[in-house]
Symmetry: C2
Subunit: 466 residues, 2 copies
Amino acid sequence: MQPFSLPTRDSTGQLADRLARSAATTRGAHLPTDGFTDWLAERGRLNTFRVDRIPFAALDGWSFEEPTGNLAHRSGRFFTVEGLRVTERDGPYGDGPYAHWHQPVIKQPEVGILGILAKEFDGVLHFLMQAKMEPGNPGLLQLSPTVQATRSNYTGAHRGAGVKYIEHFTGPGRGRVIADVLQSEHGSWFYRKANRNMIVEAVGEVPLLDDFCWLTLGQIAALLHRDNVVNMDSRTVLSCLPLPPDSSTALLRDTELLSWITGERARHDVQADRVPLAGLPGWRRHEHAIEHEEGRYFKVVAVSVQAGNREVTSWTQPLFEPVGRGVTAFLSRTFDGVRHVLVHARVEGGFLDTIELGPTVQYTPENYAHLPEKERPAFLDTVLEAPADRIRYAAVHAEEGGRFLNAESRYLVVEAEEWQAPLNPPPGYAWVTPDQLRRLVRHGHYLNVQARTLLACLNAMRAGIA
Amino acid sequence: MQPFSLPTRDSTGQLADRLARSAATTRGAHLPTDGFTDWLAERGRLNTFRVDRIPFAALDGWSFEEPTGNLAHRSGRFFTVEGLRVTERDGPYGDGPYAHWHQPVIKQPEVGILGILAKEFDGVLHFLMQAKMEPGNPGLLQLSPTVQATRSNYTGAHRGAGVKYIEHFTGPGRGRVIADVLQSEHGSWFYRKANRNMIVEAVGEVPLLDDFCWLTLGQIAALLHRDNVVNMDSRTVLSCLPLPPDSSTALLRDTELLSWITGERARHDVQADRVPLAGLPGWRRHEHAIEHEEGRYFKVVAVSVQAGNREVTSWTQPLFEPVGRGVTAFLSRTFDGVRHVLVHARVEGGFLDTIELGPTVQYTPENYAHLPEKERPAFLDTVLEAPADRIRYAAVHAEEGGRFLNAESRYLVVEAEEWQAPLNPPPGYAWVTPDQLRRLVRHGHYLNVQARTLLACLNAMRAGIA
């Protein structure tokens, strides 16, 4: 065998510089940011979509199975809606007043791919984004990753067209991997769902297909400051970008942070069992919805979809619809010149491993409106009452429109004072730097999907496009 | 609030130097390595132990519950023996001939602490190890971590003495954390079991109690070359030491390695469901054992224990007893002057997340003796037939003696050639450097417990004590 030289293991330095250049570039080689709104509107005109609420009985191929009452597709694919019983014996620690509850949950065991393709134009990395309709999106059409595919999608269970650009992510001739990590999805709505988050730099020419556009990170950062443009799948993938570190110091050393997370995982004792959807305590099934008895949390509903540019032209499906708009926020403070955000070790019934780090605040205020003040979630009022001059970032984003209907949250980064968010936070909370979050997100099951959206927003703030 | 300076996040450099110094020190401040055998024998003389096999009917407090037939303690604590049904739809890939199987499994949901206390003597870090009896250990007495405690232990379900030194690991006044990570245990025998692996540097004086001794890493490395001295709990904790990197190059860049692991996780579709132990297909319960119909894999047995220095003085319990001695090995090659070992992305039914990285070879040869040559596990014969001059490390170690009876494996590191282990390995295998393993082991669920033992052995080889 010929002798050969090994590559340096950590080649992120040069890549980080290229990513930083893309973040600083607000003038894309293909589409000016000013022209984006028109482009997206044009895509909408060329592709007509219609979403209608329907009763469960009008679902095609979906039915409530006997005797479980679980909602499933006759093919056995896609996903099922089942019941979940959660018992948290050591909690809760500020993450809601309930230590034992039942809820519907989406079970979708297959791992999908969320992939963004990158390519250099004029010496600057651009990212290939897609104008994609999802039935649950406010406005229907949002900016999605290059590839957003369940395994059913690309193995043909949809009986639809092949997934465009998938060969850049799965084939032997795929490009250079920038990030590739299994990340959890909503632990309050999914049972142990994870998707593969990938960013790949293309090798060779890439044809530009209809409904796709190349954007710099600077352009995407500008769009992340607009309401309901960049979809959840894009945000979680963007959070995995290995951007250059902005600080080498922090309140907690990295070893201390990992130890704190280990301690949080160990001290929570969560038992989550799948149970039949039929007869789920506290929930009622009507003709059009499965609802909580007190009207809280979310509903399971059904829709029919007519679309022109999807893999198949029409279908029906269940969706989860939250009862109100969420508030999802990091409280932020600057210590010794370094920005920190306050993470919360959250228990969500569908997580693989007891806790993941979430935002400081992740609540739907309506769910807590009935509670006396001292039982209200920690830090929620600080966020709700924040004056405009303390808000460093705010935009409304929706969760995955393929599963969630109008699941909007106001995402915020809010500057706090010692009396609002002390240097020594309560149990279950820790101050970390955005760069520490960027290190954690290289591995799965550290940051929940809402924290990843906020990390993408923190990255966008840093790009300086606000 | 007073201004203050933040610490540097990554302070591993100075610590790594101190660990390297301890690894280079073969002369401990407290006990010469030559005197260790006498010390351990003396501990054995002062503490009389007796372990007897008993029929299940003679178990005290343990019984087969109706109607599941699960073996459980009347307190509801400790652990249960249940059934597991595993279906791997996308596999197998060289990890055994079975894609669907049933097996007994140990369910022990609580997170224990395995902790080693460190302290400097004469400017060199020493580690506090314990001569500890476990009923399943060959020779009964082995070297365990400072603390080896289930949550039942230190919350009193044993109705026994408090766990010595536990305050260094859990209290608010605990020492400086060197490592703290949740690691999986045997995925073939445990259902989703994880323990907290901790190394903590003590603050202030530490009294030396009976049955404990301070050893340098150099001394421990020497003991790791002996058969059945350093127990599994010690080995997994030692694998988490943040030793200084020995190379900054590797066949796979770190990003490529993480991507390969993500791909392996995503391509395996494993469904593991707990089922009743009663009537488990392929397994039979007798008066003294639950056995596989063809005598393969392992048995569930029961023992009575009489001990002097345990938390309580006598007890009975079930144990898993493998049918033969295992062979657990890394094949190793040197590329461009850098040692690499061949890891295997293994599916084990009890893993939390489909695969973890295991050794190249991790088999009990007896289980495969009936198979034709081409169906035998990959690389097994290369290890079994390795001439002495290709064996870089070999010692017999036992798995956890609190749950496993005589569960011995021969652990090896074997030098291979291109024709035995090619540069481009088969699917499911990858060449990685020991330093890449040291980076992965800072996080849970990357390395299985056998790979962690071998990583501790690789560290011991490097200490140069062979």
